[in-house]
Amino acid sequence: MTSTTTAPFMPPPSWLSRFLRGLRGERTGMLGFVLVTLIVLAAIFAPWLSPYDPTAIMTGPPLAPPSSAHWLGTDNLGRDLFSRVLAGGRVAMLVAAAALSAALTLGVALGLLAGLGPRWLDNLLLLIFDAIRSFPVIVFGLAVVTLVGPSLFTVVLVVAITSVPIYARIIRTQAQSLRSAEFVLAERAMGASLPRLLGIHVLPNVLGPLLILASMDVPLVIATEAGLSFLGMGVRPPTPSWGVILNDGYNFIRNSPWPVVAGSVPIVLVTLGFTFLGEALRDIFDPRLQKAN
């Protein structure tokens, strides 16, 4: 005899539950998620977690190896490396957040213009994107520094500008394909305005893959910031940044390996964490993005 009761209505799973459930199947993804969470928390709570002031000199003997007083040792001015690494993490996360949000916003705007606007505008924008992409990021950054001078803002500007073409191209392709999609034509036949079309129909389809790609770009952004700061073109002293720590370490590399280790390990961990997390996100939410590269 069949049951006459109907199953209770189950709302479709939210993104969070899909993510958590999918994560269970991806071991590297879980590792990435844990790493990223730890890094973000460490960045947010850096001032409370640092045993010393990151800019205070001579808190201990210079270039000392790790000890119970200084978990990662000290640099050439006696500053505690662990505190500096935490503070550097803050800078790195800040640059990543600022630069990527700027790049995403501008990329989405320009991509929509290119995809939905007139043909000549599309060609012009594509040309500009290709031109930007043929600059090595560092060379572009150095050129900008010549004009503007080194600062945190310069780094954010450089990273944002060089990331815009990537996102804009993706949005452009999506916008072009949606332009002639049936549901869009139907909406327009019913008199939907452009903002409504964009906001409710185009953007939600497009933002998901974009955010996943952005999370996979974080390692590159952080490496660029560290690189520019290493060359003295980025964050100004006394603000610590992983690149600045590495530069100090490089200058004293024959005296002690610890500053170099202290500056480089966070970079590698961040790269691994965000790469694994990004790949897991992509596998869970949009396996179509999986390509050979």
Binding site: S134, F135, L142, L147
Partner: protein, 312 residues
């Protein structure tokens, strides 16, 4: 094929033109004035005005852009602000070092990467494959300049096996001095190339024409050589073409860390001096080389696989 080559050539020239124009335009949109930067905070307004006139900064923007290109086409890349030497001489004097470094890095990493990728694909699923995969991901996560620092730390400072400073005298010494820098630049590419070649080989290995070949009794070696390799290598070539951009970035760091001569080191030192003409000239030359490299790699890909000649 010829028309495709022409089209790409034209596009490349256009890209270089746009890139340089962007740079010059940025000069005006962005706050800060090169003349003030060069002269420093104690410069008088008259001195600034005079320097600006000398550098041609007081002319309207389109004139400046055209002027720059006019001079470039005549072979004049400007003159160094401090020493008065021609920028072209300085830049082209340093260029060979960078080119050698990049060429050697590409050569060894492409060779090893393709070999590793092929091997991984043909022995997919074995422990060797998994090991290669882990090593690839590991080396991918380490930026070139971090790798250089570790190379110096381990091989030069720690073990003392290899030199860490300069480019060396003569061919043999030069090559020895190239070992660590080329290793640092190439190591992350080996992983990248290997992964790509492995993925595309696996794709091609299950394609119909390959299965036909096996059905007809061709040996594995023959199939790999004549059919699979051509197509599988293609993403690696594209990768290296577009990767020249990243390679240049890596070269900048490597030249600074290993105190080698080259365009990267030149740009960094000129930026520190705010030597605007050299920066502009060096960036122009770099951009031209990169665009040329991308062009060549696209043409090689089109040669290997005619299906890839897409419309512009």
């Amino acid at each position: 094929m010829i028309t495709y080559a022409f089209q790409r050539l034209l596009l490349s020239a256009l890209i270089v033109a746009v890139a340089m124009s962007l740079l010059i335009v940025m000069l005006h949109v962005v706050p800060g004035d090169p003349a003030t930067m060069i002269l420093g905070p104690r410069a008088t307004p008259e001195l600034i005005a005079q320097t600006r006139a000398e550098m041609g900064l007081d002319q309207p923007l389109p004139i400046q852009v055209l002027d720059f290109f006019g001079r470039v086409l005549r072979g004049d890349l400007g003159t160094d602000v401090f020493t008065g030497r021609a920028v072209g001489d300085i830049v082209f004097g340093q260029l060979p070092y960078t080119l050698v470094l990049i060429a050697v890095s590409i050569a060894w990493s492409a060779a090893l990467g393709i070999l590793l990728g092929c091997y991984s694909a043909l022995r997919a699923g074995t422990w060797l494959d998994t090991l290669a995969g882990i090593v690839s991901v590991g080396t991918l996560s380490i930026p070139a300049f971090v790798m250089s620092l570790y190379a110096v730390l381990i091989f030069a400072v720690g073990l003392g096996w290899l030199p860490a400073i300069g480019a060396g005298e003569g061919v043999v010494d030069g090559l020895v001095h190239l070992i660590l820098p080329a290793f640092a630049i190439g190591i992350s590419w080996v992983g990248y190339v290997a992964r790509m070649v492995r993925a595309s080989m696996l794709e091609v290995m299950s394609a119909p024409h390959v299965r036909m070949g096996r059905a007809f009794g061709l040996t594995q070696a023959r199939i790999v050589r004549s059919y699979i390799l051509r197509i599988a290598v293609q993403p690696a070539v594209t990768l290296l073409g577009t990767g020249v951009v990243h390679l240049f970035s890596a070269a900048v760091f490597v030249e600074v860390i290993f105190a080698r001569p080259g365009i990267g080191a030149l740009i960094v030192s000129s930026v520190n001096e705010r030597n605007y003409p050299i920066v502009l000239g060096a960036v122009l030359v770099t951009t031209v080389i990169i665009v040329l490299a991308t062009l060549v790699s696209d043409l090689v890909v089109a040669l290997l696989d005619p299906r890839q000649r897409d419309a512009l």
